[in-house]
Subunit: 133 residues, 3 copies
């Protein structure tokens, strides 16, 4: 089963918890065991799995990624000016594979699934593939 | 088939080769062809595939990751103080997908599978999903 | 189905678009729905999904990765001197999972699949697993 969900972001950089939306698609599918692959359909937005408790983790992560890949760089050639977004996307990954056991996502206590906006605010699409096995 | 293995780490940052433990689970499953998905159940520990020969590669990788994501940062908000661990985890990835051909992991000559501890020492859990296809 | 394709690189660092080669393998397989897992068989070369339009994005990405992980580092221990390549490989990932819907790769408008050489020029191998589901 392949579904597409929409994510609307409201900042330039933002981590949006989409765990519940993925769980909803999983419930609809009635899958008991298998995997779910979650894919950002964009080259300036990632999917990652990280801390779902203290919201400061997200703020710190985005702040530090901005330092490692600063928005402007004197040597950048790309005319659109969003090279940093492309780098963050490949660093965190355009997709993540999640496990499903007995109808539920297999996640650790503190693990949540995030859509990571790196060049917003924008309307974005996320593909969700649910696969038995 | 979904199994969980334990990894006990002994340092703050550490790369533990878990290739053999994954091969053992694979043998038990009798799978001939398919995939194995290896997932860290934590938000401060990753799975990655990298060099299994010279142990200095691991030391260099951990040393340099510490420079890119230093342990302390004057702007960090997260009270637990382990923001760097969360960043390393998303950078290397919470899980990796491995290929299985004729009952064996498909790995290049120098490729090994590593559990990467970024906030140890701790007792950790790794989920291993073995899937035919 | 498991296939291996060859990629010959011509620079020390280089992003080679292999989307068409993957599409070819997919056509040969006659798969309608499922996934394709693309794996670099090396520890100094990655697979990533990123911008397929402006070639300057690739140049900028490689230039900035060189700054984050410089080729030489006074503290490196690894005698081969390619620690930076190993780090870039784990950062971008040794493999990526792609979705297949109705016989075609599910990619956003600007998404292409890249083999990323980080210690070339060399002859490289990429494993392609095509899996129904």
């Amino acid at each position: 089963m392949l579904e597409t969900i929409s994510v609307t972001t409201s900042s330039h950089s933002e981590m949006v918890d989409i765990t519940e939306q993925i769980e909803e698609q999983l419930q609809k599918s009635n899958l008991r065991n298998g995997i779910v692959i979650v894919q950002s359909m964009h080259t300036t937005a990632s999917i990652t799995v990280n801390e779902n408790a203290d919201p400061d983790v997200k703020k710190d992560m985005l702040m530090r990624l901005d330092e490692v890949y600063p928005w402007t760089h004197r040597k950048d050639l790309h005319a659109e000016g969003n090279t940093a977004s492309h780098l963050k996307t490949s660093t965190l990954g355009h997709s993540q594979t999640l496990l499903v056991d007995d109808g539920k996502l297999v996640l650790g206590t503190w693990q949540g699934v995030y859509f990571c906006e790196f060049d917003g605010p924008r309307s974005r699409k996320v593909a969700i593939k649910i696969m038995e096995g």
